[in-house]
């Protein structure tokens, strides 16, 4: 088994070697720019890992892995425009550094470049892998739209929220693992099980992210604690709190959400106190565990040597231990 860290490093080096035409500069420079901003390269590394797990040669999976990374960065480029975000990982976003039209059109061509890279697979896998890629890509777009819809809605329920994070975050993990598994020689049953493992784990991971935003150790979490609270983001915790709160608590929570004059620290403290009084963290922990269990269940059913499955369990445990 190759180490995940080594696979991430291989992806980073390979991303750096990706070249695009020089002309027209404003179409292609933003692609190299956003790819250079970095990130953990987790999605493409998982694709390589899946190939490796089933005994495939990771060189055969490198282009599809890069396709996933290019696709992911296309979504970031367009999401940053839609979210009006000035910064990504401390660097100017593409529409800030150039302009909005550049961000739209460079993103478009990135999506096409993603397809070009994804097509570098053997003929007998081409249609199957592109079908997965299409479904993944559509899912991410649907997730982003539903997430934007949530901003305007006050009646979001937990079931819808789980479906949103499944589409927006988890299907790419499932898709990457499934493509890697097929390239590695897995049959469709095992590829689907590994895909389920990734999708459930992705949901669990996102729920953990929601919890850590409020209850995480700021030093380990690496983000501002309470950022979701400050921005009124409809996370699992907030949706659950809105569902559970009654009487005075409901009034107070609605008051805090509607009031724009709160000092951030006070707002985080007040909302956290409500979360604590309602016990929403426990609900979130339980929900996270449900999806982690589903992930491990899918994993158990895969036809792979026990040591390979243990490798995946260790990987999943590594993802899920960031708490506290």
């Amino acid at each position: 088994m190759k180490k995940l860290k080594d696979l991430q490093e291989l992806i980073s080096q390979s991303v750096d070697k990706l070249t695009f035409p020089l002309h027209p500069a404003e179409l292609y420079e933003p692609i190299s720019y956003i790819l250079s901003i970095g990130g953990k390269r987790m999605r493409p590394a998982l694709l390589l890992m899946a190939c490796d797990l089933f005994g495939g040669n990771i060189d055969d999976a490198l282009s599809p892995a890069l396709a996933i990374e290019v696709f992911h960065n296309f979504t970031l480029m367009h999401d940053d425009i839609m979210d009006n975000a000035p910064l990504r990982r401390g660097r100017a976003t593409v529409h800030e550094k150039w302009n909005q039209n550049v961000g739209i059109l460079s993103g478009d061509v990135m999506l096409i470049e993603g397809y070009k890279l994804m097509m570098k697979v053997p003929d007998h896998l081409l249609r199957q892998i592109l079908d997965i890629f299409n479904n993944t890509a559509v899912g991410v777009c649907e997730g982003q739209q539903i997430d934007m819809d949530f901003e305007r809605r006050s009646d979001v329920i937990i079931k819808e929220y789980i479906e949103m994070i499944r589409l927006k975050t988890a299907v790419v993990l499932g898709g990457a693992l499934k493509i890697g598994a097929l390239i590695g020689g897995a049959d469709i049953k095992d590829a689907n099980l590994l895909s389920n493992f990734g999708e459930y784990l992705g949901i669990a991971f996102q729920l953990q992210d929601d919890i850590l935003d409020v209850y995480g150790d700021p030093e380990k979490f690496g983000k501002q604690v309470g950022g979701d609270i400050i921005s009124n983001k409809k996370t699992y915790l907030l949706i659950k709190a809105l569902e559970l709160a009654g009487g005075e608590t409901a009034t107070e929570l609605q008051h805090i959400l509607a009031n724009k004059d709160f000092i951030n620290e006070d707002k985080v403290q007040a909302v956290t106190a409500i979360y604590n009084s309602l016990g929403v963290k426990q609900y979130a922990d339980d929900q996270m565990q449900v999806y982690a269990d589903k992930a491990f269940e899918a994993l158990d059913a895969i036809n792979l040597p026990e040591e390979h499955k243990q490798y995946l369990r260790d990987f999943a445990d590594g993802l899920m231990v960031r708490e506290n």
Copy 2:
């Protein structure tokens, strides 16, 4: 040979039957909306025509033809945002009717839907056809970027202009014909020749469009005469005039381009007078003829029965007789 008009009608009916998921509504409704605005459906009809010409069954080419139409409308949806256009064919553009984010994300998912439709071809053609589609799609994006670059540039030369219209307008025609030909059973040599025919004809057609903007019969042309002049659009005529003009004429032309207080009619009259004094229409006519000749040359070399080639010649003549 099926009549082009009948093929256009078949496409229109098939576009009307295209269905997309109901949810999320803001992601999919704009797709049906922009497709319902209509248009001549020329690109997909040409794809069917190419299939028919080589003896194929046009039913086999219908999904790829729809893919070309969906792709074309994706480019319109994003171009309308970039051009800040409020109307398309007298109807509100998507970003006007909904909002800009809807236009970006619906466009993204349209591009993916285009790939899904384009994949509905036999396995042995899948890679070849997707390669053509990728190249076509990248070309259109490059053409759009170069066209936007031109707005800020004052040193555009004719060679660059021809390359821009080739990418922005002509490669889709070439690509559609090539894909249709391959589905119809053409060998790669004939498919390439038919593609060249379409690409050259597309360039000639765009040059004719530039000429008609100034010299066309307003009733037959269907657009405001001089629209390109009013918006300072860098057409073949303007670029050639800037190249040819010297001394006082150059000063006058620059003055007109820089002056925003002109009454539209006066501006059209003044610029047309300069075009006439420099004889730019003749240059444009000659250039258009060069590309029409190249198109017919490619056509002559295709291995098809003479009557099929005559059909294509008649089609090309039909496109090119809109003058006066």
